[in-house]
C-alpha cells in the first residue's frame, strides 16, 4: 500500500470512528450531507503533487502526521476565548472567537447586531435559521478536483454563521478569530457560512492564530453568498507558528451587480494554502482578489485563486505580491476562466514576488482559460529583486541603501495592504509589514492578541 492510500485509509477510519460523535454535536441538515461528501473524498483522496492545483505544495507530510482528531475544547479554552481581546488599536468590530473550530456555547442563540443581522454558531443556525442555511450550505463549495473540500463537508465540527438580510448595510466589520489551542497535536475542520442579501453590505475580518506550540492542521471551508448589488469584503490575516499548517478554501458566489473583495495577508505560518474561488454568476458583478505574503525561514505559502466568469459583462482583478526570505517558498496559482457566452469580460491578474536570498524559491502559474471572444484579459508575473534603478534613485538623494531597500519593499507591499478598507487594520498591517521587513518582528510581537501565558 503506498503512502497515498494509507492516508486515505486513515481518514476513512477516522470518519467511521468519529462520525457519530461529530454528528451528535451537529445539526441534522449538516449531518445529512456527510455521507455523500465522504464518498466523494474517498474518490478524490488527499490531493497529491500530481494534481495540477497542488503541484507545488506537498500535503503528504501534513496528512500522514498523527493528530488527535476530535477534541472538544474544555472550559479553560472556552473561557480563554471569551476573554480574548484583539490588540489592534481603534479596531471597532463585532468580535467572534472560535477555539479549535468550536463556537463557544451561547445558550443555543444567535447574536443579533445591527437591524436583523444575526451571527453565531453554524450548528445552532442550522436549527434556528434552517431555511437560510439549507438554501446556501454546501451549494458553493463544490469541487470535482479537491478532495479536501469534501473532507471538510464530511467532518466539519462547527463554525461561524453570518446572515445580513436584504438591504442592511452593516457598517461595523465582523471579526472572526480562529484560535488553535491545545496541548496535543490536533486536526481542526471548521466551516463558515456567510449570506449577504440583496443590496446589503458586510465586511468580515478573519484572523488565524495559534496559541500553543503544537503541530496543527486546519482544513477550513468558508462559503459566501453575495446577493444582487450587494457589497462584501473579506480580509484574512494569518499569523500562526512554524509547526502549524493552514488550508483554507473560500468560495464566494456573486450575483448580479455585486462587488466582492477578498484580501489574504499572510504574515507567518508553517504551511499555508489559501484557495479562493470567486464565482461571477450574475451580470455586472466585480470580483477583487488580493494577497500579500511575507515569509522567511522554512515557511511555505501557496495562494490559489480561481475567478470564474460564468456570465457576460463582469470584471475581475487579481493582485498578489510577496517577499520571500531565507529558505521560504512561495506559490501562486491564479486562474481566470471565461465561460462561453461570458462576453465583454474584463479580467486582470498580476503576481509579483521579490526573492531576498538564493535559497528562497517562488513558483508561479498565472493561467487564463478563455472560451469567449469579446474579452480583454491579461496576466503578468514577475519574480526578481528590487529594481536597481529605483534603488539608485533613492540613494542618489541621500538615503542609505538599507533604508532605500526598506522603502521600496514597503511600497511594494503597501499596494496590497491598501486593499484593506478598514482603516485601523490597514494601519496596523502597515506597521507589521514594516517591522517584518526590518526583521524586528518575531511571531509573538506580531501577534494580535495579548498572549498571557507564555511569551517566548
Amino acid at each position: 500500500m503506498d503512502s497515498e492510500t494509507k492516508i486515505d485509509e486513515r481518514y476513512a477510519e477516522l470518519f467511521r470512528s468519529r462520525i457519530e460523535q461529530i454528528s451528535a454535536g451537529s445539526a441534522p441538515f449538516i449531518n445529512s450531507l456527510r455521507e455523500e461528501a465522504f464518498g466523494r473524498f474517498r474518490e478524490l483522496g488527499v490531493p497529491d503533487r500530481k494534481s495540477e492545483a497542488y503541484r507545488y505544495t506537498n500535503l503528504e507530510p501534513l496528512f500522514s502526521h498523527h493528530y488527535h482528531d476530535y477534541i472538544i475544547p474544555d472550559a479553560g479554552d472556552l473561557n480563554y476565548a471569551r476573554n480574548f481581546e484583539c490588540e489592534v488599536e481603534d479596531l471597532d468590530v463585532h468580535n467572534l472567537v472560535l477555539v479549535n473550530g468550536f463556537y463557544p456555547p451561547n445558550g443555543g442563540a444567535l447574536k443579533t447586531i445591527d437591524p436583523g443581522v444575526s451571527l453565531g454558531s453554524l450548528t445552532e443556525a442550522a436549527v434556528s435559521q434552517s431555511e437560510v442555511v439549507e438554501r446556501h450550505y454546501g451549494r458553493y463549495a463544490a469541487s470535482d478536483e479537491d478532495g479536501l473540500i469534501h473532507l471538510n463537508t464530511a467532518l466539519a465540527t462547527d463554525g461561524v454563521f453570518i446572515n445580513v438580510p436584504e438591504g442592511v448595510r452593516s457598517e461595523k466589520p465582523v471579526q472572526i478569530v480562529n484560535l488553535v489551542r491545545s496541548e496535543k497535536d490536533i486536526f481542526v475542520q471548521h466551516r463558515n457560512l456567510v449570506v449577504v442579501g440583496e443590496d446589503a453590505e458586510a465586511t468580515i475580518i478573519i484572523c488565524d492564530h495559534t496559541v500553543s506550540p503544537n503541530n496543527y492542521l486546519t482544513n477550513a471551508v468558508t462559503e459566501v453568498y453575495v446577493g444582487a448589488n450587494a457589497r462584501f469584503t473579506l480580509i484574512r490575516v494569518q499569523n500562526e507558528h512554524n509547526k502549524a499548517a493552514k488550508l483554507t478554501h473560500t468560495f464566494i458566489h456573486q450575483e448580479r451587480g455585486s462587488y466582492a473583495s477578498s484580501v489574504n495577508i499572510t504574515l507567518h505560518g508553517g504551511v499555508v494554502r489559501n484557495s479562493t474561488y470567486h464565482h461571477l454568476g450574475g451580470e455586472g458583478a466585480h470580483a477583487n482578489a488580493a494577497g500579500l505574503y511575507l515569509t522567511d525561514r522554512t515557511q511555505h505559502v501557496d495562494n490559489f485563486v480561481s475567478v470564474n466568469h460564468a456570465v457576460a459583462d463582469c470584471t475581475s482583478n487579481q493582485l498578489f505580491k510577496g517577499v520571500l526570505d531565507d529558505v521560504a517558498t512561495g506559490t501562486f496559482n491564479g486562474r481566470i476562466v471565461v465561460r462561453p457566452d461570458a462576453q465583454r469580460t474584463r479580467a486582470y491578474q498580476s503576481n509579483n514576488t521579490i526573492l531576498l536570498t538564493d535559497d528562497a524559491r517562488m513558483d508561479t502559474r498565472p493561467q487564463l482559460e478563455i472560451f469567449a471572444d469579446d474579452v480583454k484579459c491579461s496576466h503578468g508575473a514577475t519574480v526578481g529583486q528590487i529594481d536597481d534603478n529605483a534603488l539608485f534613485y533613492l540613494m542618489s538623494r541621500g538615503i542609505n541603501r538599507r533604508e532605500a531597500r526598506l522603502m521600496l519593499m514597503f511600497g511594494f507591499a503597501h499596494e496590497v495592504v491598501q486593499e484593506i478598507p478598514v482603516e485601523a487594520l490597514q494601519r496596523r498591517i502597515d506597521t507589521l509589514v514594516m517591522q517584518r521587513l526590518r526583521g524586528e518582528l518575531t511571531r509573538c510581537a506580531s501577534c494580535m492578541m495579548r498572549c498571557r501565558e507564555s511569551v517566548q
Binding site: E52, D358, A360, R361, T364, L368, I370, A372, T382
Partner: protein
C-alpha cells in the same frame, strides 16, 4: 455587417488543405501492431548495429510501463497502438546516387509540395533531406556540405557511417525515459535527419528536412539529431505535410539538438500536417518532443515555429541552458481552426550563470478550436543572473473558440529576473472599421491585422519559409474573423 462578416469568416476558415493529395507509390510495410518483434524487425530491416537495437528494446520495455499523458488541455481519443503500421518505406530504394534514380512519382510529390529537391534548383540554395513515410528518400547538396566538413544525411546513413557520433549523442538530450511518446519514438523510430557541423564552421546554406506521411494507417516516427560543435552555426528548417484522410494518423517525432561552446543553432518549423476536415474528422496527431541543450558557454539555440496543421498538437520545443551566458529563444505562432486542438509552448531550464531566454508566443484560435500555451521557465539555484522575458498573446476569432495560457515560473535564485506577460483579445471592431474606411475589405483587414500580430515571429524565419508561413497563415485563417 454581421452577416457579411460571418460569410467572410466562413470563406476564410474554409480554406482547403492544398497538400491533401496522395501519391501512389509502392511501399514496403511491416504488419500492423507493436511488440518486441516489431522493434527487432524494424531494426533488422534497417541493418542496425547491436547497440541501437538494445537502445530500442530498452525504450520499448520502458514504454510498456508508461501511460498516455493526460495533463495537457487536450481531448485525445484513445489511441490503439496496436492498430498502427510502424514502418512503411517507399519501394525501389537502393540508396539513389542521383536524382535520376529516384522514383519519378516521388519527385512529382515533392515538386507538388514545392520543395527544391532537384539539384538544378541551385538558386534556391537550400539543402534538403526529404523523409517520406518513415524513410529518408534523398538528400541534396551533400558534396557542397562535405567540402565544409558538414555531415547532413539520413539518420540510417549516419548510423552506418558515423556510428560513434550518433551513439554519443542519441538520447543524450531526450532520453527514452523522458515521456510516453519519446519512449515510443525511441523504440520504433524509422528514420530522420542527422547533422553534424564541425568546429568553427558556419554552415553556408539553410539545411532543411521535409517530412511527409503518405501511406495509410501508418505512424511516422522520425528522429532528428543535430550536433553543432564549438563555434559553429547552422540554420535548420523543417516542414511537414500529409494527405487528407478520414482516419487519424499518429506522428511522434523526437528532435535533439546539441550546441557546444559558442555554437549557434537556429531551428525553424513550419508544421502543416493535415488538420482534419471542417467537422473534425481525420487529421494528424502531432505529439512531438523537441529539446536542445546549450552545453557549452555562450551557446545559443533558437526555436521558431509556425504551427498551422494537425488535428492535435502536443509539442514543447525546449532549451536546457547549461552553459554560462547561453541563450534560448522560442518564437511561435500557433493557429487553430475548426476542431483543431493545440497545447504547445516551451521549457527554458536555466542552469548556467547569466543564461538568458526569450519566449514570444502568439496563439490564434478560430472556429471551434482550442489553443493553449503551456510553458515552463525554471531557474535553478546556481543560475545567477538568469533573465527571462515571456510574452504570450492570444487572438480569438469567433465566439466558440478557446484560448488558454498556462505559464509555469519556478525560480530558485534571487538574482533572476523573470517576467511573464499575456494578453487575450479579439480583433476590435474599431480596427476593422479603420481599415474599411480606407478601402480595405474586411477580409483583407483581418489578414493584415493577423499578419501584423504574427510578424514578430514570422520575421525570425528564414526568408524561404517566411513567405510560405505567411501564406499558410492566410489559408488557415480563411473565414475565421469576427
Amino acid at each position: 455587417m454581421e452577416k457579411s462578416n460571418d460569410k467572410i469568416l466562413d470563406e476564410v476558415t474554409s480554406g482547403e488543405y492544398k497538400y491533401g493529395f496522395y501519391t501512389d507509390i509502392e511501399s514496403d510495410q511491416i504488419p500492423r501492431g507493436l511488440s518486441e518483434d516489431t522493434v527487432r524487425m524494424i531494426s533488422s530491416l534497417k541493418e542496425e548495429p547491436e547497440w541501437l537495437l538494445e537502445f530500442r528494446l530498452n525504450a520499448f520495455r520502458h514504454w510498456q510501463t508508461m501511460k498516455m499523458p493526460s495533463w495537457a488541455n487536450l481531448k485525445i481519443p484513445d489511441i490503439d497502438f496496436q492498430d498502427i503500421i510502424y514502418y512503411s518505406a517507399p519501394k525501389k530504394r537502393s540508396s539513389p546516387e542521383s536524382l535520376d534514380e529516384v522514383d519519378p512519382e516521388l519527385i512529382k510529390t515533392f515538386d507538388k509540395l514545392g520543395i527544391p529537391l532537384s539539384e538544378q534548383k541551385l538558386l534556391a540554395g537550400v539543402a534538403v533531406d526529404a523523409v517520406i513515410d518513415s524513410v529518408s528518400v534523398t538528400t541534396t547538396f551533400k558534396e557542397t556540405l562535405a567540402e565544409h566538413g558538414i555531415i547532413f544525411c539520413s539518420f540510417s546513413e549516419a548510423v552506418k557511417e558515423y556510428p560513434e557520433l550518433v551513439r554519443r549523442h542519441l538520447g543524450s538530450v531526450v532520453p527514452y525515459t523522458d515521456n510516453f511518446y519519446a519512449a515510443l519514438n525511441s523504440a520504433v523510430f524509422s528514420d530522420g535527419s542527422f547533422c553534424y557541423v564541425p568546429k568553427g564552421v558556419r554552415c553556408p546554406m539553410e539545411l532543411s528536412t521535409y517530412f511527409r506521411i503518405n501511406a495509410a494507417n501508418t505512424g511516422q516516427f522520425e528522429r532528428t539529431l543535430l550536433v553543432a560543435d564549438e563555434e559553429s552555426y547552422v540554420s535548420y528548417l523543417e516542414g511537414c505535410t500529409a494527405p487528407a484522410r478520414d482516419e487519424n494518423q499518429l506522428h511522434a517525432a523526437v528532435v535533439e539538438i546539441v550546441a557546444e561552446k559558442s555554437a549557434e543553432v537556429k531551428y525553424s518549423t513550419v508544421q502543416n500536417w493535415y488538420p482534419g476536415d471542417r467537422d473534425g474528422s481525420g487529421g494528424v496527431y502531432n505529439f512531438v518532443t523537441k529539446r536542445g541543450i546549450c552545453k557549452g558557454d555562450n551557446s545559443k539555440i533558437s526555436w521558431t515555429q509556425v504551427e498551422t496543421g494537425s488535428a492535435i498538437t502536443w509539442k514543447y520545443p525546449s532549451c536546457i541552458l547549461r552553459g554560462d551566458n547561453s541563450i534560448g529563444e522560442f518564437y511561435s505562432v500557433a493557429v487553430t481552426n475548426n476542431h483543431q486542438q493545440a497545447d504547445t509552448g516551451t521549457k527554458m531550464i536555466h542552469i548556467g550563470k547569466n543564461s538568458r531566454s526569450t519566449i514570444i508566443s502568439k496563439g490564434i484560435s478560430a472556429g471551434l478550436s482550442q489553443n493553449s500555451y503551456r510553458g515552463l521557465v525554471k531557474v535553478l539555484k546556481n543560475a545567477t543572473g538568469a533573465r527571462n522575458f515571456s510574452q504570450c498573446d492570444s487572438l480569438l476569432l469567433g465566439e466558440r473558440c478557446g484560448a488558454h495560457t498556462f505559464p509555469y515560473l519556478e525560480v530558485d535564485n534571487q538574482s533572476a529576473i523573470i517576467e511573464h506577460e499575456a494578453t487575450t483579445s479579439r480583433i476590435g471592431e474599431d480596427q476593422i472599421f479603420y481599415c474599411n474606411q480606407r478601402g480595405i475589405s474586411t477580409e483583407d483587414a483581418v489578414g493584415l491585422i493577423v499578419n501584423g500580430y504574427a510578424r514578430e515571429v514570422i520575421n525570425k524565419l528564414p526568408m524561404e519559409f517566411a513567405v510560405e508561413a505567411q501564406k499558410l497563415l492566410q489559408i488557415s485563417l480563411e473565414g475565421s474573423v469576427g
